[in-house]
């Protein structure tokens, strides 16, 4: 593996002093689970001069619900711990489902949601779930913190808006809308341990005791250079009384937001069809969770 130096600050202040000397993109790479980073350094895809373990910093380990703000999910929290958090199980089902899909037990015990997001792969399984829950990303560096919507975070495969001397402190998941449910499904050729050919998360909120959609969020992975919201399909659903026809039409509309490529994992046509099937299935799962089966 290419040589780098290692540092493990124990406070934000110490971390910011290290970051203050950083000027070049990619010069420093935080490590959480290392499940992406170590392989990337081994194969030369990333070549940091400094690897910074951020897990010793208390703020990075925050997993806390703040009334009015939502769920603060710190950068160092593992997928296993995220999925085990009762509030995630109750109110952020799609996030829980994504955590359970990222690699094996061994991977989930180390890997973090924030590492999945910061790595910025178009196939990242937690990102569609974060998008339907309207997550925001809190960046921190020597010049302070700034918060940006997850939707505006990605700039291309493996790239995002953070500056060379910024790291992600946490993501914030706002309180989910009333009477809502979210789900994530991906398609892979195996049962476990593979990269999504396509992935879809949806969130549905219904007027109480009805099938009237008050809010819909749909987000797609692996069908473009960055994960995207399927906004036309969301708008189509909102305000409608959901029927089988409407669900099918929404799934077809979601395909319009996908711009997939053909590669070894699947062709353009196949991926588009997957978007339709996975959108329909996740919408039905949301209805099911809200006791409004069609």
């Amino acid at each position: 593996m290419k040589a780098f130096s290692f540092t493990a600050p124990t406070t934000i202040k110490e971390m910011n002093e290290i970051l203050a000397n950083v000027t070049t993109p990619g010069e420093i790479h935080p490590i959480v689970g290392g499940t992406d980073l170590i392989e990337q350094v081994k194969t030369g895809r990333r070549s940091p001069s400094i690897v910074m373990d951020i897990k010793q910093i208390p703020e990075m380990n925050r997993l806390e619900w703040v009334s009015g703000e939502g769920l603060h999910l710190g950068a160092a929290v593992s997928c296993t711990d995220t999925a085990a958090f009762p509030l995630v199980q109750e109110s952020y089902e799609s996030i829980k489902e994504s955590c359970g899909l990222i690699g094996s037990v061994q991977i989930q015990n180390r890997a973090s949601i924030v590492g999945n997001i910061a790595n910025s792969a178009p196939s990242a399984d937690s990102v569609p779930s974060g998008l339907v829950h309207e997550a925001s990303v809190v960046l921190i560096g020597p010049s302070g913190t700034r918060t940006i919507p997850l939707e505006d975070f990605f700039t291309g495969p493996g790239r995002n808006v953070s500056k060379p001397n910024e790291v992600v402190l946490e993501i914030i998941l706002p309180p989910p809308p009333n009477n809502s449910s979210s789900h994530y499904l991906r398609f892979i050729p195996r049962n476990e341990m593979d990269i999504a050919v396509a992935g879809v998360a949806t969130l549905l909120s219904l007027a109480p005791g009805s099938r009237t959609c008050t809010k819909a969020r749909i987000a797609l992975a692996s069908v473009g250079p960055i994960p995207v919201r399927a906004k036309a399909a969301e708008t189509f659903l909102e305000g409608k009384d959901l029927t089988n026809d409407i669900i099918e039409k929404a799934a077809e509309t979601a395909v319009e937001s996908a711009s997939p490529i053909t590669d070894v994992r699947g062709s353009i046509e196949y991926r588009k069809n997957l978007v339709k099937v996975l959108t329909e299935n996740t919408l039905r799962m949301c209805l099911n969770s809200l006791n409004q089966n069609l």
């Binding site: 780098f4 490590i31 037990v105 061994q106 341990m193």
Partner: protein
């Protein structure tokens, strides 16, 4: 680049090593501590041959830097037996013929031990999910699953 002094617990004994900053925990266990039960299969998180317990949880030691182990508690396959007394899982792997070449076995044993410690009454499906991060090129998995199920059923 100066080496890093790393102090941690391995198989209940305190150890101190000098590690290269880029050295993985897997390499440190094998090369510095000569605990060669931990195997390198893929070196990238796919095969589970390098599985160890970190604070009781199964992880791939090829995806972790040795330097990250500072102050942590690591259990390798060498730490499963109690002296001459094999872990019931080790005995069951022998009794059920749950190995052929044996290269994957340490990883399976550590994964299975971490899993049974948290989930003593698993279904077959639970077991199959728990070991999905361990690959075996020889046995076809059934005997491994049966060995683990046997240990669970006999309450160990």
């Amino acid at each position: 680049m100066p080496k890093i002094r790393v102090s941690f617990i391995v198989n209940q004994e305190p150890v101190e090593i000098l590690a290269e900053p880029w050295q993985t925990l897997m390499d440190a266990l094998r090369e510095n501590l000569r605990l060669t039960g931990t195997k390198e299969g893929c070196g990238n998180g796919n095969c589970g041959a390098c599985t160890v317990m970190l604070n009781g949880k199964a992880i791939d030691s090829c995806c972790m830097l040795a330097a990250e182990a500072e102050g942590q508690n690591v259990t390798t396959v060498e730490g499963l037996a109690n002296g001459e007394q094999l872990d019931p899982l080790q005995q069951a792997f022998i009794d059920f013929g749950a190995l052929q070449c044996g290269f994957c076995t340490p990883g399976f044993l550590v994964s299975a031990r971490a899993f049974l410690n948290e989930n003593p009454n698993p279904s077959e499906q639970d077991i199959r999910f728990a070991i999905a991060g361990n690959l075996c090129r020889c046995t076809g998995y059934d005997k491994i699953v049966r060995a683990i199920q046997h240990v669970a059923d006999s309450g160990h």
